[in-house]
Symmetry: C6
């Protein structure tokens, strides 16, 4: 976007960016504790994060966890 | 919608803003009691709120809580 | 849809309005009984309603309840 | 889809209508049996249906039921 | 997008079609075993499928099942 | 974002692609262990993946599993 456009039409786009911001994406490559809805607690390293999934490594296991199954993450 | 409003193109945007309004965003920096679906009750300070997440501090723990895991918040 | 309506291009907008209609918004300022997924029943006064939240007052407590945690509301 | 329809640019709209079709809306004014996720079974008369809610009358009680709390409806 | 791509206008639409593809719609008119979140298993004939619902016939019962209440379907 | 990219109008599209990326689609044709919300663990071969569904083969059974019923997948 060039400066002219920014002068006029800035707020909506910026708002949109804020709206789509996700904290989970900041956890990539971090070691976290994941509390699941089934009561399990996983000590995991976050490998990747998408809209609905968190991919982790737990020792030699690779898990694709759906966010809907997570209650909270301690980091 | 009457013709005047159509001429201004204002109404749809305003409507949209109302539609996307969220009370949870007002809790930022407040001390709240979070009741989770797993029965836990967390005395927490709200650090940040995004579309699907609430980030809190509980003493020295940092938690990213998914909203889907929350039943209600007392503030 | 008859030909007249198609000519005016009005119908889709109207349809959209119907699609987004929500009964919950009518409960604002009413006293209701909220049945939660955790089994709790709350006698509450509805203070505000947003897309995913219902804010209520129960005596001197202020609660932000997520709609996903509600089974049904008696009004 | 035949060539004629493609020529008119009508098909996408039609497709969209099919995509948004909901069986629940046909239950308006009918007497149904609603099976909830909490195990309750409600003998109810459907008063209204919106995207995420079903409003019913059960004897002298008025209930706004969230669809997410319903397992299935017998009609 | 450059002009060449715009001239074809084919790819985005195709992508979209893939994105919206649903296996459940192929079950129409089939006899299936539906495993619900409440533990019930229904031997059913699929009558119709919409975005969020599956309508089935079980002997002489007509059920509108919400997909959110289904764990999996054996077909 | 640098000025060159801004000139081409390319970035937004790319962003969108990242936003819609899903790890689950990479599991197609793989043998995985699927942990369900009901406690079941399925040793399955992934046949297909759509937005909300994962289709698997377990010996001679064909299952359409809704993602919402899955806690995590080990692969």
């Amino acid at each position: 976007m060039n400066n002219k456009q920014q002068g006029k039409k800035r707020a909506p786009q910026k708002k949109n960016q804020i709206q789509n911001f996700e904290y989970a994406r900041k956890l990539r490559d971090k070691k976290v504790k994941i509390y699941l809805r089934n009561g399990e607690v996983l000590d995991a390293e976050v490998v990747g994060v998408s809209n609905y999934e968190i991919v982790v490594k737990i020792e030699d296991r690779n898990l694709l966890i759906f966010k809907h199954a997570i209650d909270y993450i301690e980091y």
